[in-house]
Subunit: 127 residues, 2 copies
DNA sequence: ATAGGACTTCGAGTGCGCTCGAAGTCAAAA
DNA sequence: TTTTGACTTCGAGCGCACTCGAAGTCCTAT
């Protein structure tokens, strides 16, 4: 918390991170955040830049199909201190394998789709 | 239907296509197939090579996150004859855009994950 | 001071894509 | 011929990740 911290409302964070305010509250309920979100006057949430940074990373994990439960594990490790760094690294490395596999499958599927498209193109343009 | 056709049971198709027999029946119920699956003795399904080919392509559409409903549209077009080829081409082209976008987002996410991994590596290996 | 809108919690509802189970039928091997 | 196990239909159930709505509270601008 330095002087340069912008504390953001939930709506501002939703816009910056690209999810709904409902989803932000859901993630918090599920224990996916690294620490309790600050509150203005003990009710309205106030997010730090660090919170936003983590949420942005979280959305990348989701985008690469990491289940909520796995992200929860990762967040729990991160909350448990520095001696869980190795475990976190291993978790990310395992996830990395899955992402590479997904990219590979998608790329192969794209090739099949392109092949089909080429077929239609031939028959459509020769008309 | 040539002499060289291997008619396959649902279990054999499930194995070849990489989905469960339950899923195969579900796809059929949902109207995702191009034509009625043949039957042995009017009960047990018998799939042709063409059926398997379509199912393989169908799984690639699913793998690239095309919703069941869109696949249903595509199959309906394909069933409606040759004059829907242009419409099918457009559908596939639109889907292609989405696949490319997904690949791009995934690749960017992978970069973020790799960046995080590199950070852990530094701190873990310098110990 | 007051109005209006953004925020709060909490539980319930939704949509998608399967996945399962029951109850029964069929067919290939011994 | 009998048995075993793969097949059939049908409707219901499930898991995931949100998404929504109700009912109430708080902040900001006028």
């Amino acid at each position: 918390m330095t002087v340069t911290d912008h504390l953001l409302s939930i709506a501002e964070v939703a816009e910056r991170v690209g999810v709904s305010t409902h989803t932000l509250r859901y993630y918090e309920r599920e224990g996916l955040l690294l620490r309790p979100v600050g509150r203005a006057s003990s009710t309205h949430r106030r997010y730090t830049d660090a919170d936003v940074g983590w949420l942005r990373f979280l959305t990348k994990l989701r985008l690469t199909a990491m289940p909520i439960a796995r992200i929860k594990e990762y967040a729990a490790l991160a909350r448990s201190g520095d001696d869980t760094e190795e475990a976190r690294l291993e978790l990310l490395l395992r996830h990395r394998m899955s992402v590479v596999a997904q990219l590979d499958e998608m790329t192969k599927s794209l090739a099949a789709i392109d092949y089909k498209i080429a077929g239609y193109r031939e028959r459509t343009e020769t008309r």
